[in-house]
């Protein structure tokens, strides 16, 4: 059912100057303020309805490629809701030893999981992690007297890689993929050089393929004096099977909201901790947490720190949830998560008839909608009660349906997903045009939204 905007239910205006005992002179206060004015029961109904119009992981399968929409255990929320966790960032360190112990432990665990020597928890998201890693690479090269202003990125990489490189002040060199969907070694040889600051790589890549030549890639980049950056978006494919550090990566970020089950929250908050090899540890953001000789914890400024990428200590509550998840699973649980994630992707792929041009894939695969528009197929999948995969990307596959079921789906829900894939991709043109039909909103006009931007309820003040 259509839910009105808060202001359409009841609105009221106040004027700070109006009250007898106004605490400030008129010239320091605003004239008026007009906001929704609802009682709590009305708000409860409003947001309950809005929640029911939102598809989450608890609604059904959510196989978005490279997003790792796994189940978010309420255990994590309980741990994060502990009132003892609600501390102020200016508290003296001796009064927040609990928080610092959690952070130091998480740093240690992430280091073990990635094969990295040191980890910062400060970056508040994956892209912030990329940016942090690149700031570290930049500082490292500057320190070593190298003027390296290029970052090499495969054409199949996540868009954030490019944007983060730009933000950190690098030029981007795009690396075409080889025919097998992996890094083109010749192109890489050609691309690296004295200007190469780093190569950014996802492994397995966005097609789900493991870069088998990763050791050779590392050698090429390292020989050229560059660093190897690992984009952790796909780490859920490899837990316990291979570690970026062992592959030759120098810097990596972790997406705890992907691999370690902290909830996506409709777009965030996440957290993007960054791990580095020991040579790069002096460059980590400040402050950094470490254990002292007497088992206490302290904050310190790494010797050659790149400074800060978050105003405080990053997304603490999210980090706390990741800590709880890793502790709950332990070695066997983490390894099993990857085993089942990879099995699920392979099983699902086996159940659908669409072409999957590249393989062998791991936790995700990219199918092609063929002569159908991938977006149409996705929209029609909504009618079967599942969330569709990521569409039209990566571009290596035409009409791509980039699919990552994660380990939390059962054979039953994978079969349900497969049925939705089949039904949607077999539908006739009229049905596809008309999809979705069973959703809260029917197909939404994106062109209108962009041509005539209405970005707040003030846009509805006049006649609509």
């Amino acid at each position: 059912a259509y839910e009105p905007l808060l202001v359409e239910k009841r609105e009221a205006a106040v004027s700070p100057g109006d009250s007898e005992d106004a605490p400030l002179p008129d010239d320091l206060t605003r004239d008026s303020l007009s906001l929704p004015a609802l009682a709590e029961p009305e708000l409860a109904r409003h947001y309950t309805r809005l929640s029911q119009e939102t598809y989450g992981v608890t609604s059904g399968p959510f196989p978005l490629g490279s997003c790792t929409m796994k189940y978010n255990p309420p255990l994590l929320e309980d741990v994060a809701a502990d009132p003892s966790a609600a501390v102020h960032p200016d508290r003296p360190v001796e009064t927040i030893q609990g928080t610092l112990e959690v952070m130091a432990t998480l740093q240690d665990w992430l280091g073990r999981i990635g094969g990295m020597d040191a980890v910062t928890l400060q970056p508040p998201a994956g892209a912030a992690g990329e940016y942090t890693g690149l700031l570290i690479a930049k500082a490292y090269h500057e320190d070593h007297g190298n003027d390296r202003d290029e970052v090499i990125i495969p054409d199949s990489a996540h868009g954030t890689n490019f944007a983060s490189a730009a933000m950190a002040g690098f030029d981007v060199v795009e690396l075409p993929s080889a025919e097998d969907g992996r890094v083109d070694m010749d192109a890489l040889e050609a691309a690296v050089g004295d200007s190469t600051a780093a190569l950014m790589l996802t492994n397995p890549n966005t097609l789900g393929l493991f870069e088998r030549d990763i050791e050779a890639i590392a050698e090429i980049v390292h020989d050229a004096g560059g660093l190897l950056y690992y984009d952790g978006a796909n780490l859920n494919a490899l837990l316990g099977r291979a570690r970026p550090g062992d592959m030759g990566f120098d810097v990596m970020h972790y997406n705890v909201h992907k691999t370690f089950a902290t909830p996506h929250g409709g777009g965030g908050p996440g957290a993007g901790p960054v791990g580095v090899v020991s040579d790069l540890a002096p460059y980590l953001p400040e402050p950094h947490v470490r254990e002292t000789a007497d088992s206490d914890y302290e904050l310190y400024e790494p010797e050659r720190t790149v400074g800060k990428v978050h105003g405080f200590h990053g997304n603490w509550l999210v980090l706390l949830k990741a800590y709880a998840y890793i502790r709950r699973l332990g070695d066997a649980g983490l390894s099993d998560a990857s085993a089942k994630a990879v099995l699920n992707a392979n099983y699902l792929a086996e159940q659908i008839d669409l072409e999957i041009p590249y393989g062998p894939f791991h936790h995700e695969f990219v199918a092609s909608a063929g002569d159908r528009d991938a977006i149409d197929v996705a929209k029609h999948m909504l009618d079967f009660g599942v969330h569709p995969p990521t569409t039209k990307w990566p571009e290596l596959v035409s009409e791509a349906l980039m699919t990552e079921p994660t380990e939390v789906e059962s054979k039953e829900t994978l079969d349900q997903l497969a049925a939705a894939f089949e039904a949607a991709s077999a539908a006739d043109a009229a049905d596809l045009d008309d999809a979705p039909r069973r959703t809260t909103a029917r197909r939404i006009d994106q062109v209108e939204a962009a041509r005539n931007p209405r970005l707040s309820w003030h846009a509805f003040d006049g006649p609509e």
Binding site: I96, A125, A127, A242, R328, G330, D331, D336, E448, S456
Partner: protein, 443 residues
């Protein structure tokens, strides 16, 4: 649920199902699916023990209990206001909590509408026409404002002016953004806790792409010359970026009315509470900059049946489409915190929000007066109006007072050798009597 240490408790596969799936795929076991050279195979031994759910909860609780139980009178950019129970209850509904960025708007109308409402509230509070869905935090929002300035300013230039009183951590974040964008930061002096307008007039020139000011400042003082700052910035074709928060915005001068081009701040001040500095970056700006705004925007549109519907819009600004030419690298933002902020604002309503803001002035004034009566303490140090917090001059060393207060159960900030800072909100005002009594003992 007897699987602690045996596998993921969140993978539903029975042995038989795993077997039949492996058969369908045509392999003997899952290991066969990993296309990883032996040379870099890892044995899975991280050395992390698994725990049962209850043991995990217990261990976390025990560890966090190492945090001392203090009543906090700390502020300086991270504020605590009381969160209504209904906000946590509604925000934790799993459809909200576990959903993704709204790339399939037809099944995300609820979250999109909530974000649209969030944007609308921030538009109302700032007076600017556009507010995005959130940046990572106040500091990154400030950094994004600086890079926006370089994109929208008509002539070249490379200086960002920042008051000397800005938190050094925020400035450090800005410096990294500046470095990537070939900008430099210059400092504007303050006079008794607010921007020294004369000094600003002397410093500002055509090199300046953005002037930043805060209201209230990190010391709780309320700026009185915002309009002048705005005029000066405009006269030099520089953006005027104002730092604030949604509570202060309800009472203090409307940013648009003093010429602000961008407003940044921590909107998590409402809805989230103390979270060791976690919050979410408020980012609002003028309609002129629509195509240059960083971050996600929700817009209204219509669906195929002609009904109003919401969708992420103007995505061609964003990294997943424009890549290195994007307006920002931001992808995962703080949407869920923005949802909580919107819920908290809606719960307060205009009356409640204004009253909360007015109390931030009244309570700080009252507490300063009471502190000022204590021998050895003088407050407020700055001869300004204050919001939430103020600086106290101390005869004794400030560190010593801070440490003794910690023993009494209070956390306060030592600004320097002989200055403390105290912050009072609805979340700690119930403890002000006890704080004053303790101060009387230790000052």
């Amino acid at each position: 649920m007897t699987d602690t240490g045996r596998g993921s408790p969140y993978a539903p596969h029975t042995a038989a199902e795993t077997r039949s799936m492996l058969d369908a795929v045509g392999v003997d076991d899952e290991e066969a699916l990993f296309d990883v050279p032996n040379s870099i195979r890892f044995d899975g031994q991280f050395g992390i023990d698994a725990r049962s759910e209850s043991a995990t909860r217990r261990e976390a609780r025990r560890t966090l209990a190492r945090n001392d139980d203090l009543v906090s009178f700390l502020g300086r950019g991270h504020y605590a206001h009381e969160i209504p129970s209904v906000v946590a209850d509604l925000a934790s509904r799993s459809e909200f909590l576990t959903s993704y960025t709204q790339y399939q708007p037809e099944v995300a109308q609820g979250f999109l509408q909530a974000l649209f409402e969030y944007q609308s509230m921030l538009v109302e509070l700032t007076g600017l026409e556009i507010a995005n869905c959130s940046m990572h935090d106040r500091a990154t929002a400030l950094g994004e404002a600086a890079t926006l300035a370089t994109r929208v300013r008509e002539t070249a230039g490379s200086t960002v002016l920042v008051p000397d009183l800005v938190r050094e951590e925020q400035r450090a974040v800005l410096e990294n953004y500046a470095r990537g964008g070939d900008l430099s930061i210059a400092t504007v002096p303050t006079d008794d806790g607010t921007v020294d307008i004369d000094a600003l007039e002397g410093i500002i020139d055509e090199e300046v792409v953005m002037v930043y000011a805060e209201n209230p400042t990190v010391r709780g003082t309320i700026e009185e010359g915002l309009e002048t700052i705005g005029d000066l910035a405009a006269a030099h074709d520089a953006l005027f970026c104002l730092g604030s928060d949604p509570v202060a915005l309800a009472l203090l001068e409307e940013p648009a009315s003093v010429g602000a081009d961008v407003v940044v701040g921590d909107a998590g001040t409402l809805g989230l509470g103390q979270a060791y500095g976690m919050g979410h970056g408020l980012f609002a700006t003028r309609e002129d900059f629509l195509r240059q705004v960083p971050g996600r925007l929700v817009g209204a549109s219509t669906d195929q049946s002609g009904r109003r519907a919401y969708t992420l819009t103007l995505q061609t600004r964003e990294q997943h489409i424009r890549r290195e030419r994007a307006t920002s690298n931001i992808c995962t933002n703080q949407a869920w915190v923005a949802l909580r902020t919107a819920m908290h604002v809606a719960w307060l309503g205009p009356d409640g929000l204004l009253e909360l803001a007015e109390d931030c002035v009244r309570n700080a004034r009252e507490l300063a007066a009471r502190v000022d009566e204590i021998d050895g303490l003088h407050a407020p140090v700055h001869d300004r109006h204050h919001f939430r917090e103020f600086v106290v001059a101390t005869d004794q060393p400030a560190d010593a007072i801070r440490d003794r207060l910690a023993k009494e159960g209070f956390a306060v900030h030592a600004v320097d050798e002989h200055r403390l800072q105290l912050c009072v909100t609805d979340a700690n005002e119930h403890a002000t009597d006890r704080l004053v009594a303790a101060l009387r003992e230790v000052a």
